[in-house]
């Protein structure tokens, strides 16, 4: 496959692991703890970068799959002790949910904006649903759902067949590795036959169909894959903070994912990752400074992304770079980042 030989792919595949190994040796534990959650959220950003950026599906409620993954992990890990069943559940539940929603939406051929609204609504209603489950009556096995208080003491990650939980550095390695594997995997994916058809459906759904592709199946496939990645990220998130609460289903959380992808750049894979790191560091810094209300910050970033950098940072920077390097020289556009 050509992608395996591309310079940026090799660079990422070499520099990525090196960075992951080196970081815990150079920075403080506190920073490592924060970087872990950034990597987890960046994986979530990648899931939307895949579904929206590559597949053209406006999954504005990607938070629903992240949250379902987190809750599934928490419930399964509490009941079965150990994180492996939790991780399996965290992939299975979101994929089933995505398959059901996707079936009705794609096979009914509802328009893309309607889909955006429906998918966000799913997340909002899960928010209300989970919020209403406080009280001892709402429990699954040994796991109380906890309503608006969420589920505390979610078991941490452990390696399969090893009882000892991962420490801070171990969790960081796991989270960063997840991000790297998902990123490289998706880069390979968009260059496979499946990936190419997915991109072609984004470009022109009618033509893809007139060529004989069943676009509904491709959309369903990429949507479910995105849900699986988001669910896995949700599980890591719950394990990282030993906590999962209904906040992950809130409209603010859903908006945050959109801002990462939009600001970083739609149609690229590195964009959502960078967008996530930038926005999260910015909000963390503003939060420490207690400078302002997080809703206002996110709202302003959101508006700025749409009105001022509609293409996103990564594509805009690439364009400027090209102009600087050689005006007029035709540079073949990169297909996938």
């Amino acid at each position: 496959m050509r992608e395996l030989r591309s310079k940026s792919f090799i660079a990422a595949a070499v520099a990525g692991p090196a960075l992951i190994v080196a970081l815990p040796q150079i920075v403080e534990v506190y920073t490592i703890f924060n970087l872990s959650v950034y990597a987890i959220l960046a994986t979530l950003a990648l899931s939307l970068g895949l579904v929206w950026g590559m597949g053209g599906i406006l999954s504005f409620g990607q938070s629903a799959f992240f949250g379902l993954g987190g809750y599934a992990y928490a419930i399964a890990a509490i009941n079965f002790a150990g994180s492996t069943p939790g991780l399996l559940a965290a992939v299975a539940l979101p994929v089933v949910a995505a398959a059901v929603i996707g079936y009705f939406a794609f096979f009914g051929r509802i328009s893309d904006v309607y889909f955006a609204v429906i998918s966000l609504t799913v997340s909002l209603i899960l928010y209300n649903l989970i919020n209403s489950t406080s009280g001892a009556a709402y429990r699954i096995g040994d796991a109380p759902l906890g309503g608006y208080n969420g589920i505390p003491s979610v078991p941490p990650l452990n390696l399969p067949f090893a009882a000892a939980p991962l420490d801070f550095a171990g969790t960081f390695y796991a989270a960063a590795l997840l991000l790297l594997v998902v990123y490289l995997g998706l880069r390979l994916l968009v260059n496979t036959r499946f990936g190419r058809v997915v991109v072609s459906v984004r470009e022109n759904e009618l033509r893809a169909e007139l060529l004989g592709y069943d676009v509904r199946l491709y959309k369903l496939g990429v949507f479910c894959l995105g849900a699986a990645i988001a669910g896995l990220a949700g599980a890591f998130y719950a394990a990282w903070g030993s906590f999962i609460g209904p906040g992950v289903f809130s409209i603010g959380f859903a908006a945050q994912i959109i801002v990462w992808v939009l600001l970083g750049g739609l149609g690229t894979l590195i964009g959502p990752v960078l967008g996530c790191f930038i926005v999260q560091s910015l909000t963390a810094w503003l939060g420490e400074a207690e400078a302002s209300n997080p809703s206002i910050v996110l709202g302003v970033l959101f508006l700025a992304a749409v009105m001022l950098v509609p293409k996103g940072l990564v594509p805009s920077l690439r364009e400027w770079g090209r102009r600087l390097l050689g005006a007029g020289r035709a540079v073949p556009r990169e297909r996938a980042p």
Partner: protein, 295 residues
């Protein structure tokens, strides 16, 4: 809940509560539907328009303004003004880019929530509903419930007359059908959009005010409205009034039936489930298939 009282009383009470569910759903959704049906814009800040309407009403009443003036004049006017400004500053630059409009108004929604939390605080504000209560056999029902149903009906009638029988309505419907043609005939399309958005905002402001005595207001209350409003508008389809009226009747009944059977939250889940199944068969909503071309 229905332990005492005759069957007829129970039936009447259930009917009233279903009508209330339908009426409030219509109120929540119709401002969004007007803007979507007439302009093709999905306003994600719609919930915050309702929130601002509620605050404008409650704060005006607390400042000594007459209850009805606050509800029917202050709240719609404040939100209409904000709507016109939003249209000028944001929506206008994004016409035809429906996804960008969704994203920009989503940002706006967060901004409104943030500003409201900073300036008005996180606490619930409220005004007691007037009128006292009405006896239905062995039951008591707040008279304000009937008022809400009445406002929904009156609003439906007023908007129908506006769109169907006034010169502005004709111009707006023409623009909705074919903006380029309307412009070629000398219509100031920008002004029509601006006014339409203003009307949608005013209606949302009124709805927020009417619901405030029951639901209370707080900066994040828009979020509780927005999911229902979206579903109703999408199930309704392109015709703002016929679609919203039909969809709120259908979904309001389903919602209330499921609420009786279980809890309010599961009522909402039923609402969403019904909508997703319905859209599988009517992807363009009810008025995408039936009553095409109605308002």
């Amino acid at each position: 809940m229905f332990a005492e009282g005759g069957h007829i009383d129970t039936a009447i009470l259930i009917l009233v509560q279903v009508l209330y569910a339908v009426g409030s759903l219509f109120l929540i959704a119709v401002g969004l539907a007007i803007v979507f049906g007439m302009m093709g814009v999905i306003n994600f800040a719609h919930g915050e328009f309702l929130m601002i309407g509620g605050f404008a009403f409650v704060l005006a009443v607390k400042a000594g303004v007459n209850f009805w003036v606050a509800m029917f004049v202050v709240a719609p006017l404040v939100v209409a003004l904000i709507g016109v400004v939003v249209e000028r500053l944001i929506i206008r630059h994004l016409y035809g880019r429906i996804v960008d409009t969704v994203l920009a108004t989503w940002g706006l929604s967060l901004l409104f929530i943030g500003i409201a939390s900073e300036t008005l605080g996180y606490f619930q504000e409220g005004v007691a509903p007037p009128f006292g209560s009405v006896r239905i056999g062995a039951y008591q029902e707040g008279a304000y419930t009937f008022f809400v149903i009445g406002v929904a009906l009156a609003l439906l009638a007023a908007l129908y007359v506006l769109l169907r029988y006034t010169p502005f309505g004709l111009i707006a419907r023409g623009t909705m059908q074919n903006a380029a043609m309307a412009a070629a005939l000398g219509t100031n399309v920008r002004a029509v959009y601006s006014i339409t958005f203003g009307i949608g905002a005013a209606v949302s402001g009124l709805a927020g005010a009417v619901l405030a005595p029951i639901a209370g207001v707080l900066p994040v209350i828009g979020v509780t409205y927005i999911a229902k409003a979206f579903i109703t508008v999408i199930v309704g389809g392109a015709s703002p009034l016929a679609g919203t009226a039909l969809a709120s009747s259908l979904l309001g009944t389903i919602n209330q039936a499921a609420t009786f059977a279980s809890t309010a939250v599961l009522g909402e889940v039923a609402l969403l489930g019904a909508a997703i199944v319905l859209l599988r068969f009517l992807p363009a909503g009810i008025t995408g298939r039936f009553l095409r071309g109605s308002v």
